[in-house]
C-alpha cells in the first residue's frame, strides 16, 4: 500500500500537536500562578506590616486607627463588623435557602423549577454596587420607619441585603446535594408512608447534610468577602460591632476606604490593607476548604 501522507506533514502535525498541548497546559497553569501571586503579595506586604506592629497587638487591641496620630491596629474591630454582617446574612439566607432548596428538589413541578433557577441566577447577576445603593437609599429609610434607632449607616440592612445576594448560591449548591440523594431512598420513605415533607426533612436533608453544610460555608465565604454593599451602606467607623442598628467598618469596607484616599506606598496605612486582606483571605479560605472537603464527601457517598 502506498504511503498517502507525507512524512513531512506528519512531522509538522506532531509539532503542532505538541505546541498546542504545551500552550494549553500553560494556560491551565496560569491559575496556579494567580494563587501564588495572591499569596506572595499578601504575605510579603504583611511581613513588612508585622515588622512594625506586633502580632499580639494586631489580634488583641480593641481599636483600629491606622490613619490617626494615636495609632492602634486591632483587627478584631474589623473582624467583628465582618462577622456581624455575614452572620445577619446567614440568618436570612440559611432558612430561606434551605426552604427553597427543599421546595425545588422535592415539591416544585419540573416546569416551575426550570423558571425559578434562571430567576435566581438573575439575582446573582445584579452588580453588587447596585445592591449597595438599594441598601443605603431605599431599604435603610424604609426600615427606619419601623425600627426606631436605626442609624443611616448600619449593619442590619447590609446584612439582610447580603443574605439576599448569597441566597442563589446556597439554594443552588444545597439543591444539587439534595438531588444527588438517590431516588431509591425517597421511594423507600414513600413506601413507609412518609409525606414529601417528611421525606425531605427526615431522609433527604440527612442524606445531603454534608452538601448542605458546604452550601452554608460557601455562602458565609461570599458574605465575608462581599465589599460594595458594606462599603456603601455600613459606614466606615472601625469599632467592635455589638449593635447591628449602628454602623461599623468591615475588613472589605476598610480596604475600600483606604484605597480611595491618597495613601503613600510606604506608609503604614498602605501596609494595613494587605494585613487586613490576608486576614480576609484566610477567613474565606477556611470556609472554602471546609466546603470543598464536605462536597467531596457527599460526592463519594453517592
Amino acid at each position: 500500500m502506498p504511503l498517502l501522507v507525507s512524512p513531512r506533514f506528519l512531522a509538522r502535525r506532531r509539532l503542532v500537536d505538541r505546541a498546542m498541548r504545551a500552550m494549553m497546559f500553560a494556560a491551565a497553569f496560569v491559575s496556579v500562578l494567580v494563587t501564588m501571586g495572591i499569596v506572595y503579595v499578601l504575605v510579603s506586604e504583611s511581613v513588612r506590616f508585622f515588622a512594625q506592629v506586633s502580632m499580639l497587638d494586631f489580634l488583641t487591641d480593641t481599636q483600629w486607627t491606622p490613619v490617626f496620630q494615636d495609632k492602634h491596629f486591632g483587627i478584631m474591630t474589623l473582624v467583628s463588623g465582618t462577622l456581624m454582617t455575614s452572620g445577619i446574612a446567614l440568618l436570612v439566607a440559611v432558612p430561606a435557602g434551605t426552604i427553597l432548596a427543599i421546595y425545588l428538589s422535592e415539591f416544585a413541578p419540573p416546569a416551575l423549577r426550570e423558571i425559578i433557577k434562571p430567576f435566581l441566577e438573575l439575582i446573582a447577576g445584579v452588580p453588587t454596587v447596585a445592591f449597595g445603593y438599594f441598601a443605603l437609599l431605599f431599604l435603610t429609610p424604609l426600615f427606619q420607619t419601623f425600627i426606631p434607632g436605626l442609624a443611616g449607616f448600619n449593619l442590619l440592612v447590609p446584612g439582610i441585603v447580603m443574605g439576599i445576594m448569597i441566597l442563589p448560591y446556597i439554594v443552588s449548591v444545597s439543591e444539587d446535594a439534595m438531588r444527588a440523594v438517590p431516588n431509591t431512598l425517597r421511594e423507600g420513605a414513600y413506601a413507609l408512608g412518609y409525606t414529601r415533607l417528611q421525606t425531605g426533612v427526615k431522609v433527604v436533608i440527612p442524606g445531603a447534610l454534608s452538601g448542605i453544610t458546604a452550601a452554608y460555608m460557601l455562602g458565609m465565604s461570599r458574605a465575608v468577602g462581599e465589599t460594595m454593599v458594606v462599603a456603601i451602606a455600613a459606614g466606615q467607623q472601625a469599632k467592635i460591632a455589638l449593635n447591628p442598628l449602628e454602623g461599623a467598618a468591615t475588613i472589605t469596607a476598610y480596604i475600600v476606604q483606604i484605597s480611595l484616599g491618597d495613601v503613600p506606598h510606604d506608609s503604614i496605612a498602605y501596609l494595613t490593607i494587605f494585613a487586613a486582606g490576608l486576614t480576609l483571605f484566610l477567613m474565606t479560605l477556611t470556609f472554602n476548604v471546609i466546603a470543598f472537603v464536605l462536597r467531596r464527601k457527599y460526592r463519594e457517598v453517592y
Binding site: 498546542m20 495572591i38 415539591f107 438573575l122 439575582i123 445603593y133 460594595m228 480611595l260 490593607i273 494587605f274
Partner: protein, 306 residues
C-alpha cells in the same frame, strides 16, 4: 407536635396533607418574597434614575454640578476595559478548560490545578484588587491603567470561563472523539476541529456570564486606584493614519461605570444620588440582559441536544 397514637388514620392523613400544603405555601412565599425584592430593586432604580438618562447624560463628563454631570468617560472606560478583559480571559480560560478536560493526565499537578481553580472561584474580588495593587502596580510598575484593570478582571472571571468550558466539553458525546480518531485525526485536530466548535455555544454562555460579572465589578478597580474624576477620554483605538489602530489607550488612566456610580452614591447631595441611580439603571439593564441572554442560549442548547 400532635401525638399521632391518639388520632385515627384519616386524621393522620389529613394532618399530613395539611402540613404538606403549608410547606408548599411557605416555599412559594419565600420565592415570591425574593422575586419581590428583585422587582423592588429594579423599580427603585427606574423611579430614581430613568428620568435622568438622556443624550447629554451619556455624552458629558463628570462635573461638580450634578445636573451637568454625565457618564461619557465612565462608559467609554467600561467598554475599553471589557475589551481587554475579554481578549485575555476567553482564550486563557478556554485553553485551560480544554486542557483540564481533554489532555490532563490524572496526576498530582492536574489535581493541584483543579483544586486551585475551585479555590480561586471563592476568593473575594477585592483580594484580586490587592493582587493587582501589590504586583502589577507596585512591583511591575504598570500604573493605574486600562490594561491593568482589564487584566485584573480577566483573572477574576477566569474560573467562570474555565468551568463553563469544561462543562461544555464534557457534554460532547465520546463518539465525536472516536470518529475523529478513527479517521486518522490526531489529538489537536480532534480538539481544534471538532471538540472546540461543538463546545462553542456553551463557552459563549460562560463568557457572557463572566463578562456581565466583570462589568459590574467595583471593588478590585477601586483598589487599583481608578480615578473617579476623569474629564477626558483615552486616546482613540482607531486613528486616521496608518496602521489605523493604536494601543496607547491601554496605558491611559480611566474610570468605569460602577466606580462612577459608587462615587456618586457616596456623596451627600441628592442630585448626585439621581446620577448614581441613572448609572446603576444602565448597569443593571446591561447585566440583566447579558444574564438573560446566557440563560436563553443555554436553554436553546439543551433543547438542541435532546
Amino acid at each position: 407536635m400532635t401525638d399521632i397514637s391518639q388520632l385515627s388514620e384519616a386524621e393522620i392523613i389529613r394532618s399530613a396533607r395539611r402540613s404538606e400544603k403549608r410547606f408548599a405555601l411557605l416555599g412559594l412565599s419565600v420565592l415570591s418574597l425574593t422575586m419581590l425584592v428583585l422587582l423592588t430593586l429594579i423599580i427603585d432604580f427606574m423611579v430614581d434614575g430613568l428620568g435622568r438618562i438622556d443624550y447629554d447624560f451619556l455624552t458629558s463628563f463628570p462635573s461638580r454640578r450634578p445636573n451637568d454631570a454625565g457618564i461619557l468617560s465612565a462608559w467609554v472606560g467600561s467598554a475599553l476595559v471589557m475589551i481587554v478583559t475579554a481578549a485575555l480571559a476567553v482564550p486563557l480560560g478556554v485553553a485551560a478548560g480544554l486542557y483540564l478536560e481533554e489532555y490532563a493526565p490524572k496526576n498530582l499537578i492536574t489535581n493541584l490545578i483543579e483544586i486551585n481553580v475551585t479555590n480561586l472561584a471563592g476568593v473575594p474580588s477585592i483580594i484580586y484588587g490587592l493582587l493587582a495593587l501589590g504586583l502589577f502596580i507596585q512591583m511591575f510598575g504598570l500604573g493605574q491603567t486600562i490594561f491593568v484593570a482589564g487584566l485584573t478582571l480577566a483573572l477574576l472571571i477566569l474560573p467562570i470561563i474555565i468551568v463553563a468550558t469544561r462543562e461544555a466539553v464534557r457534554s460532547i458525546p465520546q463518539e465525536v472523539r472516536e470518529a475523529a480518531f478513527a479517521l486518522g485525526a490526531d489529538k489537536w485536530q480532534t480538539v481544534g476541529g471538532y471538540i472546540l466548535p461543538a463546545a462553542r455555544p456553551g463557552i459563549l454562555t460562560g463568557a457572557i456570564v463572566g463578562m456581565s460579572r466583570a462589568i459590574g465589578e467595583t471593588a478590585p478597580i477601586i483598589t487599583i486606584g481608578a480615578l473617579t474624576f476623569i474629564a477626558f477620554l483615552p486616546p482613540s483605538p482607531v486613528g486616521p493614519e496608518f496602521p489605523f489602530i493604536n494601543f496607547d489607550w491601554l496605558g491611559s488612566p480611566f474610570t468605569v461605570m460602577p466606580i462612577q456610580m459608587f462615587n456618586w452614591v457616596s456623596r451627600p447631595q441628592a442630585g448626585f444620588h439621581v446620577n448614581a441611580a441613572a448609572t446603576g439603571l444602565i448597569l443593571l439593564a446591561m447585566t440583566l440582559l447579558m444574564n438573560a441572554g446566557a440563560i436563553w442560549l443555554r436553554y436553546k442548547l439543551r433543547r438542541a441536544m435532546r
